[in-house]
């Protein structure tokens, strides 16, 4: 059971609306997004239910859901939403809010996904570009899944699918400065 009515002001809704530039109250629960979304069946709560949870102010439950981590930003849902809600933007906003508030769902998938993105960004921070083989290796090491996709590797390497050397941006310094300044912006909100 979910207890409602103890809090009149829905601060969570206000925060999500502000960050996403949408009005979640527009959602009339038609579910078109759910059957559009390619990954809704992997989500704890598909987009429609996330909207309702925000309307009910269920912040913790929303943060603990894996939904926004699974969103692929494919924008299929928003292109069909009759109330023109930018759903991927909403997903992004609650993801960023959860990151800001340091809430991490236990879902192992989410952990993988987070790790992947962290490694990816790290790669970009270091080299300015992404270095795919290293990326795969690091990912597998960090997620303790050493042999994942290893059956693909020999063939892919052989076919030159995954380059062995890698490129760097000449002004790697500039990139690193950008990362620093952007982080600072992130924190001075």
């Amino acid at each position: 059971m979910i207890a409602l009515g103890q809090q009149i002001e829905n601060k969570f809704l206000t925060a999500v609306n502000k960050k996403s530039g949408n009005n979640i109250l527009d959602c009339y629960q038609c579910g078109k997004c759910v059957s559009t979304c390619p990954v809704s069946s992997f989500m704890d709560f598909p987009p429609r239910e996330i909207m309702q949870m925000i309307k009910l102010g269920l912040k913790d439950e929303t943060y603990m859901a894996n939904s926004m981590w699974f969103c692929l930003t494919c924008a299929a849902c928003s292109g069909r939403c009759p109330r023109e809600i930018d759903i991927p933007r909403v997903m992004e906003s609650i993801r960023h809010l959860a990151i800001e508030e340091n809430v991490n769902p236990d879902d192992p998938h989410v952990k993988n996904i987070r790790k992947f993105h962290e490694i990816f960004l790290d790669m970009v921070r270091r080299y300015g570009r992404n270095y795919e083989l290293r990326m795969m290796a690091e990912f597998n090491i960090r997620t303790r899944n050493l042999f994942k996709d290893m059956h693909l590797a020999p063939k892919a390497l052989l076919k030159g699918k995954i380059p062995i050397g890698h490129e760097k941006v000449k002004s790697a310094k500039a990139i690193q400065r950008m990362f620093k300044l952007a982080e600072k912006l992130e924190n001075t909100k």
């Binding site: 038609c30 078109k32 759910v34 059957s35 069946s41 598909p46 239910e49 009759p82 023109e84």
Partner: protein
């Protein structure tokens, strides 16, 4: 010297809670011309009006200011109070301290009180310049024009004609009947549409007070309430209706086939055709866009086979003029084109049809003999998906509003499908079931329980083809699962949408329409069948989506309005109209060009007193002028003024604060 009386209303707590009413009265008393000021709990009540009547006499007041609710609310009430006290009712001014002050400044009593005083000051200043005005009496032509011959127009025409008032009924297509003629059985009773409609259509044709003009369109409307002049174009039908017997020999022999609009293009009609067997009038017309005789001078078969010699290829459009006193607009609706739903593959898949196509298919007299058939292969569908709210309630792809009838007709379609194809199943994707009406919810229950239709709560997101089937995907929000239905046929309940040419018609009639093109009523609750233009009324789906019972009710209401309007020999018109002071008029005729009603003409008067030379000045037809004030503002010579809103009155308001 003006002697103004000020009456300030508490409106119970509505005003008194947010405005310091006694203070406002004290403030009013300080105005030089105010000789009497008082407050009361409910000014519009009988005792409240009594206070006004008594004070007028006791204090010899020369104008009255009531500070209360909006003048749009009770101006008439208080004007009557003035009349009852023997005072000219137009010496009243209303200061709107409720809608414009107490209700909108509920958090700042001081500011609301000050503002209320200012509003009263303005009203007092204006009232000092008020003049005695008298309603204008104009004669009426007791004949009504009904535009559109669907069930709305038919009902309105019959009701008016039954009151022995002549009616001109203009229908743009070859037959009256409208959409209702295309329907099979109708909710909520499932009686046959044709069976209840056809007798009414025949009544129209035979009614001595109805002049039926099919295949016609309104071109122009001039004049004003009670005194309109209408120009109608009667399109050339190339068939002499006086001699034609409707035998049908011509269309049986005509070699040209055209998609049949009446059957939503499911079958063909001929170039000479009568839209359906029960058409009224039951005479054919030649479709000039497709007849090879009219296009290329080749053929002429129909003329050869017509024993009555009724075919006349040389016939021309005809312009008909009629004088009328009132207009009922009943031009109905069109269906919204679902093309924007690319995710449904509209246009790519033949087996996606609209509700009206389905209606024609299940109609016993329809092109498929009453059995639904897949357009792609002619097979009888077993699994049929109905999708509701297509276009409706969809700001992104369609329109915001609810089309009101599709929940009901979709339930009907499920029942009809079950009747026609026993081993079939209906799946209905819906967002809500709107079944508010007498017997409506019971009807939906019938679809659900007796027919066993599967209702799935969710909007369909995608349709794709897999082999011969259409795969329809949507969420069933009740179980929180995405479902995919294998369908033989998909029926879209497309939105009710006004005809494309409705706005053009509205402009020509001088009435307003909303952003979709539905014609606007004067007040959504209290004047739902009137337009803002006196003497023009609305019936049926031209105003908003409606089902047949509501359409008929509104049509009868317009008839009552028309009969009321025609109950006397003259009608009274607001005296707020413009007048030219010929002494100042330079004859520039700027006003003539801006008047939206062509109310201004020119006249020639002597140049000076007794002079032989003449000069041209403007002259306003007081029967035609609607009092917009355009001419007043445009006139550089300040030769025109608008009664009730004179320059003096408005400037007084401006300078009073």
């Amino acid at each position: 010297m003006a002697r103004v009386g000020v009456f300030v209303c508490f409106c119970g707590a509505n005003i008194a809670d947010f405005v310091d009413v006694p203070a406002v009265v004290e403030e009013a008393k300080k105005i030089k011309e105010v000789k009497y000021a008082i407050d009361y709990k409910y000014m519009c009540s009988d005792p409240g009006q009594g206070m006004i009547r008594d004070a007028i006499v006791a204090h010899r007041l020369t104008s009255i200011v009531v500070a209360a609710c909006s003048p749009r609310m009770h101006e008439k009430t208080f004007r009557k109070a003035l009349s009852d006290a023997g005072m000219n009712p137009y010496l009243l001014e209303v200061a709107n301290i409720r809608e414009h002050s107490s209700w909108v400044h509920q958090k700042d009593k001081k500011a609301a009180t000050e503002k209320s005083s200012d509003l009263i000051r303005m009203a007092v200043a204006k009232s000092i310049a008020n003049e005695q005005l008298h309603e204008i009496s104009v004669p009426v032509t007791k004949r009504a024009l009904v535009i559109g011959g669907g069930i709305a127009g038919i009902q309105a025409a019959l009701d008016i004609a039954d009151a022995r008032i002549p009616v001109v009924l203009v229908e743009k297509s070859p037959s009256i009947g409208g959409k209702m003629a295309q329907l099979d059985e109708t909710f909520p009773t499932l009686d046959c549409s044709q069976c209840i409609l056809t007798p009414k259509m025949v009544d129209v044709a035979s009614h001595p007070y109805i002049e039926l003009l099919p295949y016609s369109e309104v071109l122009e409307l001039d004049g004003y309430v009670g005194n309109y002049k209408v120009k109608i174009k009667r399109k050339a039908s190339y068939v002499n209706f006086d001699t034609c017997t409707g035998c049908g020999a011509c269309w049986q022999k005509c070699p040209v086939k055209v998609p049949n609009e009446f059957n939503m293009g499911i079958d063909k009609r001929k170039a000479i055709y009568s839209p359906f067997p029960q058409a009224v009038p039951n005479k054919p017309v030649i479709d000039a866009e497709h007849c090879t005789m009219l296009l290329k001078g080749k053929c002429g078969i129909c003329a050869k086979v017509c024993e009555k010699g009724s075919i006349d290829y040389a016939m021309q459009d005809e312009i008909i003029e009629r004088e009328i006193g009132a207009v009922v607009v009943a031009t109905g609706y069109d269906l919204w084109d679902p093309k924007p739903y690319e995710e449904y593959g509209v246009g790519r898949y033949k087996d996606i049809i609209t509700s009206l196509e389905f209606e024609r298919m299940v109609s016993a007299s329809g092109p498929t003999g009453g059995v639904p058939l897949r357009p792609s292969d002619g097979k009888i569908p077993k699994s049929v998906v109905f999708i509701k709210c297509v276009g409706s309630r969809d700001e992104a792809k369609g329109i915001e509003y609810c089309s009101k009838i599709c929940c009901m007709y979709t339930a009907k379609h499920a029942i009809l499908l079950h009747h026609k194809v026993h081993d079939s199943h209906a799946y209905i994707f819906y967002m809500d079931i709107r079944a508010a009406g007498k017997g409506y919810e019971e009807f939906v229950k019938r679809a659900q329980v007796e027919t066993g239709a599967t209702y799935l709560r969710g909007r369909v997101s995608k349709i794709y083809q897999k082999g011969e089937k259409l795969m329809v995907r949507g969420e069933d929000a009740q179980i929180g699962q995405v479902v995919e239905v294998e369908a033989d046929l998909v029926v879209l309940a497309t939105a009710v949408y006004p005809y494309k040419d409705n706005p053009e018609l509205a402009r020509l009639l001088g009435i307003s329409y909303d952003k979709y093109g539905f014609l606007s009523e004067a007040h959504p609750k209290l004047r739902p069948v009137e337009t803002a233009k006196a003497g023009i009324f609305l019936a049926g789906c031209t105003q908003a989506p409606k089902d047949i019972p509501e359409t008929v009710a509104q049509a009868s209401a317009t008839a009552a309005k028309v009969c009321g309007l025609f109950s006397g020999d003259t009608i009274l018109k607001d005296p707020m109209i413009s007048k030219v002071n010929t002494d100042y008029c330079s004859g520039c005729q700027n006003c003539v060009t801006v008047c939206p009603y062509q109310a201004i003409v020119t006249e020639e008067i002597p140049l000076g007193h007794g002079s032989k030379e003449i000069r041209t000045v403007a002259k306003i037809n007081e029967g035609v002028c609607q009092g917009c004030g355009s001419c007043v503002a445009i006139c550089r010579s300040m030769a025109i003024d608008l009664a009730g809103f004179t320059d003096m009155q408005i400037i007084n308001e401006i300078v009073s604060i």
